[in-house]
Each structure stands twice: as structure tokens, then as C-alpha cells.
């Protein structure tokens, strides 16, 4: 009889009890309710170099103003119009010494 019992027990071991769909649904609903949701980290788009530079100067409008002034300054520095010294004399108080640090544009052109 012991062999028969072993056969019976082995048969029972092979026979899996299938849970009903309702039970499986309840178990999975419990799991979903108790599961910690993963935190989704959304990377913010990186600002471009122009946006960073504009922020440094207080916005795009300020940057355009500063940039324009710089270009005009460079223009006068290279061209040095004849009347510029007279205008400078009007603003200057006392004597002003003018030092020619850069050759004029026509001199540079004449050398080529």
C-alpha cells in the first residue's frame, strides 16, 4: 500500500491547482495598489549658448544693445573720421593728447 500511496502523492504533486481569473485579478489589484510607482525624471532641455549669454546681460534686448554699441565703437576705432577729434575737443575739459595707436584704413590699403 505504501507504493500506492507514493503514487497518489506524486500524482497530487503534479496536479497544480489553477487559481480562478477572479482570484488572480484580486491578487494583481492588491499588488498594483501597494506598488511604489517609479519616479519619472524628465530632463529639461538645455538652454543654448546665446540664451545663457543673453541671461548674463539681462535678456536678449540688453545683449543686442550692448552688441550694437560694441560694433559702433569698433567702427569708429578703425575708421577714425576727421571730425572725431573736433567732437572730442568739445567734450573734453582741458588738453587732450591724441595718440595714434592704429594706422588709418587708407594707409593699410595703400600698402597692399
Amino acid at each position: 500500500m505504501m507504493d500506492d500511496l507514493d503514487d497518489l502523492l506524486a500524482g497530487a504533486s503534479r496536479a497544480l491547482v489553477q487559481p480562478s481569473e477572479a482570484l488572480m485579478a484580486r491578487v494583481l489589484a492588491d499588488a498594483a495598489a501597494l506598488q511604489v510607482r517609479p519616479v519619472v525624471v524628465v530632463a529639461r532641455p538645455r538652454a543654448g549658448w546665446f540664451a545663457g549669454l543673453a541671461a548674463l546681460f539681462g535678456g536678449a534686448g540688453s545683449l543686442v544693445g550692448v552688441g550694437s554699441a560694441a560694433v559702433v565703437g569698433l567702427f569708429f576705432g578703425f575708421v577714425q573720421p576727421d571730425g572725431l577729434g573736433a567732437v572730442a575737443d568739445l567734450w573734453a575739459v582741458g588738453s587732450v593728447d591724441q595718440v595714434d595707436l592704429m594706422p588709418q584704413l587708407d594707409v593699410l590699403l595703400a600698402e597692399e
Binding site: 497518489l8 500524482g11 487559481p19 494583481l28
Partner: protein, 196 residues
């Protein structure tokens, strides 16, 4: 993680993945563990509805403990069978208490277990086995089911039932002898040839 890769992982790894929010880990764990714990609870309680409640409760406890689960400390299967064993013990005690209150001073039939088996003459072998298992003392039934049906080793059963390995060996041996005695009168009905 791809489902094929998940399916190859051990239960312990799936518990950790579940705790970290993996949506497929719970489905795989339930698919592996629920049929086993449901079968075990069913054999312990002989009541499908109660077994489903116990199985759901045991799985619920697994979901709750998952965030604190540390790999390498315990096997998930051993842990959940211990939970089921304790839940079944509680329900069997409550059942005995209710029966005792209902019957008050009326004594239990002395040979109720055998009469259950005798009543299963026309039933198939599995039903007869379940009836015979139900007639065993609770601890013997637990040990026999865990050893011979669920396939656990004696040290694992000792961990589940929280007793010594020697006690497990004694319980399974006595349980099998009792089962043999209970079923010996059923040989012909169960389709076995008479012993010569």
C-alpha cells in the same frame, strides 16, 4: 526589463524588482506562487473559498514586505508557505472553536476521520487522498503535504513550520503511516489490485 529576461529570474529578484516599481514582476510572481499556495491552503483547509482568502492574504503580505526584502536572507517560497501555514492554523483553530461552541457538550465522533474516508468509496483517487489528508492531525498533514506534494526538503519544512528537522521526520513518517492505514481499506475502490 524584457519579459523573457524577467521569467528567468529567481523569485527573490522578482520581489526586489516589484519593490522598485517593475510592472511585470507582480504578474510573474503571482503566476508562480499563487497556484502553489492555493493548493497548499486547499489541502490544509478542505475549503476552496477559505483557501482563496488565505492565498490572497499571503500574497498581500508579500507585496507589503517587498520594500524591506533583502536577497539572500530567505527564500520567497519558504517564507510564503510559512505565512500560509500560520494563516491556515489560525483558521482551523477558529473553526474548531466555532464547532465546539455550536456543539457545546456533544462529543466529536470518535472515528470521524475514518467515516469521511469511508464515505469516499465511489470518489476518485485524488478525492480519497484529500479526504484522508483532511483526517490527519494538523501538524502531520502539514508535514506530509509539504514533503510529498509540495516537494520541500526536511530543513525547509522545519523552517516553514518553525520546528526541528527531527520533528519533521517524525511527523512525515507518522503521517504516511496514518494515511496508509486510512486508505488501506480503499484499495479496490481506488482501482488498486488486492495485495496477495
Amino acid at each position: 526589463m524584457p519579459r523573457d529576461t524577467l521569467a528567468e529570474l529567481a523569485d527573490e529578484a522578482l520581489v526586489v524588482l516589484y519593490a522598485h516599481g517593475d510592472p511585470d514582476a507582480a504578474r510573474l510572481l503571482a503566476g508562480r506562487l499563487l497556484p502553489r499556495v492555493l493548493g497548499y491552503a486547499g489541502r490544509m483547509l478542505s475549503d476552496r473559498a477559505e483557501a482563496e482568502d488565505v492565498a490572497q492574504d499571503a500574497m498581500l503580505r508579500l507585496w507589503k514586505v517587498a520594500p524591506e526584502w533583502r536577497q539572500g536572507e530567505a527564500k520567497v517560497s519558504t517564507w510564503i508557505y510559512r505565512v500560509v501555514a500560520n494563516l491556515c492554523t489560525d483558521r482551523l483553530r477558529a473553526r474548531r472553536r466555532r464547532r465546539a461552541e455550536a456543539l457545546d457538550d456533544v462529543a466529536e465522533p470518535a472515528d470521524g476521520a475514518l467515516s469521511v474516508v469511508a464515505g469516499m468509496i465511489a470518489a476518485d483517487r485524488m478525492a480519497a487522498l484529500d479526504a484522508a489528508l483532511a483526517a490527519l492531525p494538523e501538524r502531520q498533514r502539514e508535514a506530509v503535504v509539504l514533503r510529498h506534494i509540495e516537494g520541500f526538503s526536511n530543513p525547509e519544512i522545519a523552517e516553514i513550520l518553525q520546528i526541528g528537522v527531527e520533528a519533521v521526520e517524525s511527523l512525515t513518517a507518522r503521517g504516511k503511516r496514518a494515511l496508509t492505514a486510512l486508505l488501506s481499506g480503499q484499495r479496490v475502490a481506488l482501482g488498486y489490485e488486492e495485495a496477495e
